[in-house]
């Protein structure tokens, strides 16, 4: 039971808004010590864990090209393009992106989207451009909201799409674990098929919330507008 102190440390650390990297490192060391690992074993665990999980950081490999085309106005062009597509509001655009992300992930094409290669260079600027067309300008609070929703469209899309693809890690983990532990012979295809109802629910719930975002932005724009109008007429 003592090892649960490590979990507690993480929760408290995050709640106090300490630097997450430091919180996680300290929690790891404390958990290791409480679990009876020697300092040498703990160092080994940090080394092995880091080396074995380099794949989650591989996304940085696309940053040079994304940065390059940003310098030449990619985001500006994304905004201009969306300005011509009047039917695509911020919410509709993000709903459409979530649908594309879910369907492609279900086909095993996970790397088609992602925060580094799609959301930052393309999806967010287009979502912001759609808002700029509708409201004239996008104040920082609205931009922050759009950023959060743009990231969420990507994440919800890939999470609840990828499990429909048979050869994805989570399906292989399920079949691998229960087959070896309980002697079942689960068909990966059946497991994948049972991910479809949840995928539909995810699209309906999050898609509706993305569409609702347009209303929220309307309200934010209305609330922010009068203040600006006041500020703009200082003299009679």
């Amino acid at each position: 039971m003592l090892v649960l102190i490590g979990v507690l440390l993480v929760v408290v650390g995050f709640a106090l808004r300490l630097n997450p990297l430091v919180v996680v490192t300290v929690a790891g060391i404390v958990t290791g010590l409480l679990g009876g690992l020697s300092p040498m074993k703990i160092l080994d665990a940090f080394g092995n864990g880091f080396a074995g999980s380099r794949s989650v950081t591989l996304f940085i490999i696309v940053l040079p090209v994304i940065g390059l085309i940003e310098r030449f106005g990619l985001q500006e062009q994304a905004r201009r393009l969306i300005a011509k597509l009047g039917v695509l509001t911020t919410g509709r655009l993000l709903t459409l992106y979530q649908l594309i992300r879910q369907v492609t992930a279900a086909l095993g094409l996970n790397s088609i989207g992602g925060p580094a290669q799609a959301v930052r260079p393309l999806i967010y600027p287009m979502a912001e451009g759609a808002a700029a067309r509708r409201y004239g300008s996008v104040p920082p609070t609205m931009a922050e909201k759009i950023k959060g929703y743009a990231a969420s469209a990507d994440t919800v899309g890939v999470f609840f799409g990828e499990d429909i693809f048979v050869a994805i890690g989570s399906i292989l983990l399920i079949t691998g674990f229960v087959d070896s532990t309980y002697g079942l012979k689960l068909d990966a295809l059946h497991v994948a098929l049972w991910a479809i109802p949840t995928a539909i629910c995810a699209f309906v719930i999050h898609g509706a919330r993305l569409l609702w975002l347009d209303r929220q932005l309307d309200r934010m724009a209305r609330e922010l507008a009068p203040k600006q109008a006041d500020a703009e007429v200082p003299q009679p």
């Binding site: 090892v3 993480v10 703990i42 794949s55 940003e70 106005g73 095993g108 790397s111």
Partner: protein, 330 residues
């Protein structure tokens, strides 16, 4: 055979390039500490190859990782003030290149799909062209290289913009914006392994056993799904939660006692865990890294946007499991 390790080395080189540019960046108030951080990260990516292949001890890398965390904890990691392109530059670029600017961006998914769908099946003699299990990662790596080449040929950055080194300069700008969040996902993976090694999973399983509703199907479904979500929030990863919750409830109660359909119970149980992933800063690569990439003021912005979806979706998973996995319908 194309190996994924090649691309980790390329990542390492990118980090070392960032370190080299950072040392000379006088606008960065902590340029030496920052360069040490990126340099260590670069070296770690190369050294990691030997750790994975068990040809080098892991503890030196462990020390390196702790030093990186210490640099962050003592506020030695900072960024330069030389910002990105200004509005005039962006407008000029967009005027000049128009929608051609999308080409390098679209090369990435195009090449990635080519690898994931076509080249994954290619064999040279008996060996596959791509290292098994890493096809998607390799596709992303090759796509990034092709996209840089296309971008350089198309845009021809001037010497003032860095020439052929322009991608390195611009990539550094984005990496500096991400900062320490770039290594958090790997640190969390390590924490997960330490949790497992120290027996956190079994401890949580024991706690769960005490709150188990014996003899109630709906209670079992609720505790299994909720447990998957909560455990995932703690561990940051549904994969870590699945074996524990399944051993505690999924198998003994939902399958053995109530004869649920295993495929449906386990598939939906895993997705209940994914609802937890949407809510937790422990899943840094999905929740904190995007916030850093989008340069959000609040690192928790994406989580705030996701929690109101995660809660009803978790309830949907409970309902779906109850209705479909136990013959209540059909």
């Amino acid at each position: 055979m194309i190996k994924v390790e090649w691309f980790y080395w390329l990542c390492g080189l990118i980090f070392l390039g960032v370190a080299a540019l950072t040392v000379g960046d006088r606008s960065n108030p902590k340029r030496y500490g920052s360069a040490a951080f990126w340099g260590l990260l670069g070296v770690s990516f190369g050294y990691g190859t030997f750790v994975v292949h068990k040809t080098a001890p892991a503890w030196p890398l462990g020390i390196g990782v702790l030093v990186m965390a210490a640099l962050v904890g003592t506020r030695q990691l900072s960024r330069g003030t030389a910002g990105g392109p200004d509005d005039a530059q962006r407008r000029a670029g967009a005027d000049r290149f128009g929608s051609l600017l999308f080409v390098p961006a679209l090369v990435i998914p195009a090449v990635a799909v080519l690898f994931a769908a076509v080249l994954v099946k290619v064999r040279i003699g008996a060996t596959p062209l791509l290292e098994a299990g890493s096809e998607t990662l390799i596709g992303l790596g090759v796509a990034a290289i092709v996209a840089v080449a296309v971008g350089l040929v198309m845009l021809r950055p001037t010497a003032a913009a860095g020439g052929v080194l322009a991608p390195m300069r611009e990539g550094r700008r984005l990496l500096e914006a991400i900062g320490w969040a770039a290594v958090l996902p790997q640190m969390l993976a390590t924490l997960g392994q330490l949790f497992t090694a120290a027996g956190v999973g079994t401890a949580v399983g024991t706690v769960t056993n005490h709150v188990l509703p014996h003899g109630s199907l709906i209670g079992g479904v609720v505790v299994y799904c909720l447990g998957m979500a909560l455990f995932t929030i703690i561990m940051g990863n549904a994969f870590a939660a699945f074996p524990i919750m399944t051993a505690a409830i999924g198998w003994p109660i939902l399958i053995q006692q109530f004869h649920g359909n295993p495929a449906a119970v386990f598939a939906i149980g895993m997705l209940a865990g994914f609802c937890g992933t949407l809510c937790t800063p422990m899943a840094a690569n999905f929740n904190l890294v995007p916030a850093a990439l989008l340069e959000m003021r609040s690192k928790y912005g994406p989580i705030k946007a996701q929690i109101p979806t995660a809660i009803p979706l978790l309830l949907c998973n409970m309902a779906l499991m109850y209705v479909f996995a136990f013959g209540v319908v059909g």
